[in-house]
Amino acid sequence: MPHSKLKDHVFDPKKKKFLSPMNAVLGNIANIQDWFRERMPEYLWIGLILDFYDSRRLAILYLTSALKQITAEYPDLINPRMSTILAMPEKDQKRVFDILEQFVPKEAISPLTILYTFSQNPYFASRFATQEYDVEKSSAILERVMKKATAFTSDFSTDIAFFIVYTFAVNGKIHLPKNKGFENIVDDLNSYADADALDDEKRKIQGFIRCHVLTSASTYENNQIFLDDFWKKTSSLFECSSMYFKYEKDVSDNDVDLYASLIKDIYLYYREMYRVIEPLNLKFLVLLGLAVYSYKRFLEIIEHNLYNAISGRSIIRVMIECYLMMKYLLKKSKEKETVWEEYQFHGIGKYKATLKNHQENATSLDKSHINVDYLNLIVNEFKDEEFVDVDTSYFDDIGIRTLAIEVEEKELYSLYYNYDSSFEHGLWGAIRESSMIACQTPAHQYHSIPDVENLQKMKSVWYDAVMVMNKTIGLLIKEFGISDELKNRMKENGL
């Protein structure tokens, strides 16, 4: 089933967030039960049987036959949860497993005996434990099947879910309007089951199966004791198996040097142009100031090898912000000539706020990175601070998102800036990607391990940094032109 698009999400003004289509329709229902953590443990026995056979068709055939008979005798097992079976009196358990064993060899679910041991489940353990399926072998099988059943949307998980739907359907518990494309649900499910490989037609039914499992979840309360016990046992049986990315710099030193040398010459050109031709041009100063700030941050990537580091992402974000601001100021200056000065004093006002905060609270900053004396000089550089306002909002009282839309750079904002903002603000997505290592052990519910050894190295920011730098330089060229020599060098470098 393809994932929904962002435009399909529904904005909830009260929550100030875009709800996924599923959450918007189902509210909290869809979140009540998580497939892997809360449902899979109950149906792992089905997964083991499916995994036992090479033929999907045969596995489903045997199991549906068994379940038909079981549910005929034990209607409570219309939802064939393991916790329900194990909670049955021993004689009923015996009957259920007798029926099951008419169709499926007991070895198929033997691996479960390392979880449901004799002390707690004596009947189950004594019936299914075998010498062949020792702890080691059983653990390996359990791990393999749990991995296969991890993603709810996988074929394997859907096949497990099929049995939940199937038992409901054959017992007449599912009623659908005739015009919804499922004229006879049992026939459709039989057709779905009767194949070793899935074709497009059968995949259509998968959506229905998963949807039904999600919606039916609310009718059954979790057996939390069973679940807690399952995860406690499985997690202690398996070791953490960490997996981390170790991306490396994806560009040669020579290419970096070539590009860095070219953009340095470009910036030197504009620096000289400003100094020599337009030394009093405020527009030039502000645009070049923003561009050079971006350039200095760009250089940090190279000089401090931040290609794969968190800081590299912060740099991309600020480079984008500088570029967006350059475009915005240019646009705004057409209607308001004073915008260049306003932009400068907006920033100076922010510094004044820091300065005042320090002065009024007498905070000691002797060993701090904040250079108060210099701040004082900057704040009072062109105007006495008494005439400098402190603006607490973003420049021009406009959000960065609106600003990006105004300068027709929405994608730069919604894709790159948004992503990099997660790193700047320490949001969980960024923490997860950069500072947490994935544990591949399903029994550990794929938990994350904090990356204290600093092993994880993310994808390089080089090409995105170059992309934003090129846009920034492009803007300067559009405004001020460039020499033929630099133009030609840019062309030779594919810019």
Binding site: Y269, E272, M273, V276, I277, E278, I477, K478, E479, F480, G481, I482, S483, D484, E485, L486, N488
Partner: protein, 352 residues
């Protein structure tokens, strides 16, 4: 092409210069030096901008510079040959540099003509040509003087010739010319159709309005005249090689000396890239000799025809295809042939 502050800043300066020049369309002879002074001060005030400009405007010999001459003389249609080659065109401001050994009246007359020419260029051809004080501000005079002296001493067969030796050894013009010899003096005073060096020299003096001096004075007069020529050559060479441009040289003697010194320079591998400057200078000079532009009436039509028919590119490509290097002997004849053929193809008026 979009806005380019580099060019626009120069155009702005040209307009400011035009306002200044217009004030001096007519002046008294007595004011001549103060006028030149003011023009020089005008350029000095803009030195940094122009320095930035000439360091960034020319690119890989795409710029043709009129330098080492007096003034361009636009009224005599000199823009036709000047604009034929090169993508960009600069004129060394004669007003800033003019100097003459003659009278104040002679200087005033020359300055007036140079100012007129400058006004014509800025007013009517400002999009195609920029006037800048190139040799006044951006050529190392001391270096040129050293180069000019060395060039002069190298005319003599013996090594170690210098001012003292020259002053002591020679007592008459004839002794100097005999020592140099016809072969070594071949590049001197070339514009006169006379066979011997002495004949050419005397005609040059005559044209300049000087009479030949006797004895030691004549020896020093010859030195002075040759030094003037070599100084001009050094100015053209140093500017063109420093900024990677090529010159529009009309004067035969200057051209001869330029070619001679450039060829010597290009013998060193490290200067190999500069051969384009020589190739293009030769191409333009030879074209200038062949081109009958005085009959042409519409500059824009002429330039459009050149552009549409890729005249410059075709000539230059053919030179490359036929491996014509102007630093090698026999190359001028090949360039002439190519030029004549390409000119005929386009019906460009040609003396042949």
């Amino acid at each position: 092409m979009g806005y380019n502050l580099l060019i626009e800043s120069m155009k702005k300066i040209q307009q400011e210069y035009l306002i200044l020049l217009r004030k001096y369309e007519s002046f008294d002879v007595e004011e001549v030096y103060s006028i030149q002074n003011e023009c020089q001060i005008f350029w000095l005030r803009h030195k940094r901008e122009i320095d930035f400009f000439i360091n960034n405007y020319p690119y890989e010999f795409d710029t043709c510079v009129f330098i080492g001459g007096m003034y361009l003389n636009v009224a005599s249609k000199s823009l036709y040959p000047f604009l034929t080659f090169g993508k960009k065109h600069l004129v060394d401001d004669p007003v800033a540099l003019l100097s003459t050994n003659g009278s104040k009246e002679y200087f005033a007359e020359y300055l007036k003509l140079a100012i007129e020419d400058n006004i014509d260029i800025i007013q009517n051809h400002g999009d195609q040509v920029l006037i800048l004080p190139l040799s006044y501000l951006f050529v190392d005079k001391e270096l040129c003087e050293i180069g000019a002296k060395n060039s002069f001493w190298h005319l003599f067969p013996e090594e170690g010739m210098n001012e003292d030796e020259y002053g002591c050894r020679f007592h008459s013009l004839d002794e100097v010319i005999e020592c140099i010899g016809e072969e070594r003096g071949r590049c001197l005073f070339l514009k006169y159709e006379k066979t011997t060096l002495k004949e050419r020299y005397l005609e040059h003096l005559d044209l300049m309005g000087f009479s030949v001096l006797d004895g030691k004075d004549g020896v020093m007069q010859f030195y002075g005249m040759c030094m003037g020529l070599f100084l001009q050559t050094m100015v053209v060479m140093t500017f063109c090689t420093h900024y990677w441009v090529f010159p529009f040289i009309r004067d035969h003697s200057l051209f001869g000396c330029f070619c001679l010194l450039m060829k010597n320079m290009l013998k060193q591998k490290k200067f190999a890239k500069l051969k384009t400057s020589l190739n293009k200078a030769v191409m333009l000079k030879l074209f200038y000799g062949l081109f009958v532009y005085e009959e042409l009436e519409n500059l824009d039509d002429y330039l459009k025809m050149l552009n549409d028919s890729n005249f410059e590119t075709m000539v230059f490509d053919r030179m490359q295809e036929e491996n014509v290097e102007c630093s090698e002997s026999g190359s001028f004849a090949k360039v002439n042939t190519i030029l004549i053929e390409e000119m005929h193809k386009r019906n460009i008026p040609c003396v042949v």
